[in-house]
């Protein structure tokens, strides 16, 4: 299961990018390949970083934390799982790339696409692994990520029917965002941009990649926090409709903010098809968490 969790999301993330990069659109929109590679880089870094931190934390502070395990065994095992996840992602991307490009007009470019995305995937995973397993990171306590407050307090957004659910969702998103690398991703994205690329387009790409990654994090964290709240309040006589309305406030505000940033990014990029692609990405990102939010009030309570 850990293997699937480690490899599944980057693969899904890459699938859409690769499809776009290797299709007939490739000739007209070379930046799509760059976007795919950047997403692979940022996505693999963020996801592997978060998964490794979670797994390491469970290992250190979970039920098996007191077992007399050999020093470094956890890190070694997790590293092997990460490498296996990476190999699986690369294999999947290669198969997908060759499959798609067989009938594409510019199918010959598949080697460049494969090299770009593969290298990005390896680099993202490697940076995440180094950051998690470096000695100073291992010494950090597991509470540290949740302590800091968001920069802007938004008390007026709270719903009186479920006060502080919004705070719960925001903090969950913040913890997840920081675990996923936060603004380190900007540096990674910039580092991957070719020398001499137009600044306007680079800024647009950074804006698009960051706003989409942020939206992914916020939507998933909001849905998870609400599902946890439903379980916590299972014995309380709350109104399901009011609860659903309260749970949507933060995700909707976040989606609006992300769409505004994406609109600015696409305007700077000046490609209508790319704008459609990003809007489709945002929609796909938000759809499943929104379904989970709507379904959460029907989730059964905890087992005794």
């Amino acid at each position: 299961m850990a293997f699937l969790r480690m490899s599944g999301i980057p693969v899904l993330l890459l699938a859409s990018c690769v499809a776009l990069a290797c299709g007939d659109l490739y000739a007209g929109y070379g930046w799509c390949l760059a976007a795919g590679a950047l997403l692979a880089l940022g996505g693999s870094y963020g996801i592997v970083h978060q998964r490794l931190l979670d797994a390491l934390e469970r290992w250190r502070f979970g039920w098996c934390g007191a077992l007399p395990a050999v020093r470094g065994a956890a890190a070694y095992t997790l590293l092997l799982v990460t490498i296996a996840g990476l190999v699986a992602s690369l294999a999947f991307v290669t198969a997908l790339l060759f499959g798609i490009s067989a009938s594409a007009q510019h199918g010959g470019d598949r080697f460049y696409a494969l090299a770009g995305i593969g290298l990005a995937l390896v680099a993202g995973t490697a940076v995440a692994a180094v950051r998690v397993f470096r000695p100073s990171a291992l010494a950090r306590t597991h509470h540290a990520d949740g302590i800091r407050e968001p920069v802007l307090a938004l008390p007026w957004l709270n719903d009186a029917r479920l006060p502080h659910l919004l705070d719960w969702q925001r903090r969950a998103a913040l913890v997840r965002w920081r675990r996923g690398g936060s603004f380190v991703m900007v540096g990674i994205v910039l580092a991957a941009v070719p020398i001499g690329a137009p600044m306007l387009e680079v800024s647009a790409l950074v804006l698009l990649v960051l706003s989409w990654s942020w939206l992914v994090v916020v939507m998933r964290a909001s849905a998870d926090a609400f599902v946890a709240a439903v379980r916590l309040l299972a014995a309380v006589p709350w109104d399901a409709h009011s609860a659903r309305m309260a749970s949507l406030r933060y995700p909707l505000i976040a989606t609006l903010c992300a769409l505004m940033l994406m609109a600015i990014g696409t305007a700077l990029l000046r490609h209508g098809v790319v704008a459609l692609f990003w809007i489709a990405c945002a929609g796909a990102t938000s759809a499943w968490p929104l379904v989970r939010l709507a379904r959460a009030t029907r989730v059964a309570g905890p087992r005794a």
Binding site: H143, G146, I147, D159, A160, R161, L162, P163, H164, L165, D167, W168, R171, A172, V175, A225, A228, A229, R231, L232, L233, A234, A235, V236, P237, W238, D239, A243, A300, G301, P302, R303, A304
Partner: protein
Amino acid sequence: MTGLLRATNVRVAYGDVHVLDGIDLTIAHGEFVALIGPNGAGKTTLLHAIAGTAPLCDGHVDVDGHDLAKTPRAAKEAVGLAIDPPSLPVLLTGRECLALFAGARGLPSIPPATLALGETLSLTSVLDRRIDGYSLGMRQKLGIMLGLIGEPPLLLLDEPFNGLDPRSALAFKTHLVSLVARGGTSVLLATHSLDIAERHATRVVLLMDGRVRRSWDAAELMGMRESPEPSLEKAMAEACGV
């Protein structure tokens, strides 16, 4: 005393495992019922079945005249279930968590009685700290306060004295006894502390293998209290066939 809870032929199963196998239990207003029994007897599951958080395979639960299956919201208005410490949201502060529960119950703010209980349990000073930094005892106290918020007529408590320091445990016992003595509140307490059951309960129910094996009424318990030896322990051992 009038009927507050009526559980009839309650059956709960997790997969092939039958945890509750036809439980009948009635609790009147102002009763303090202790639920005892060995590990795995089904005490916690029974509390969750009454609170509506464990699905019934058969039978029905009626709380304060409301059928839990047909009108769950009305039935849950009358029930307060203390929250298990590991289930608390670590990213919220204690006060935020209390406000969340108060809002869900339709209360405009945290009731003064709940804050007073926090003061009694010496939790006020840490209410503005994140739950992530709470000790087990602090979490237990907060879980108790969440169950008692709004003072519902039926309190369901699962080992609430675990992790409490002696002073807080005494304060909470006194609080429970005074709530019951006022007549408006009934308590169903699942516990392994036979001395608490023997001293404070008005009825003790022994659960074994998902069934009610035996119960002791107020008169029998009164007799046990007057005995110099720990009689409930002996009576339970006999009932269990030890």
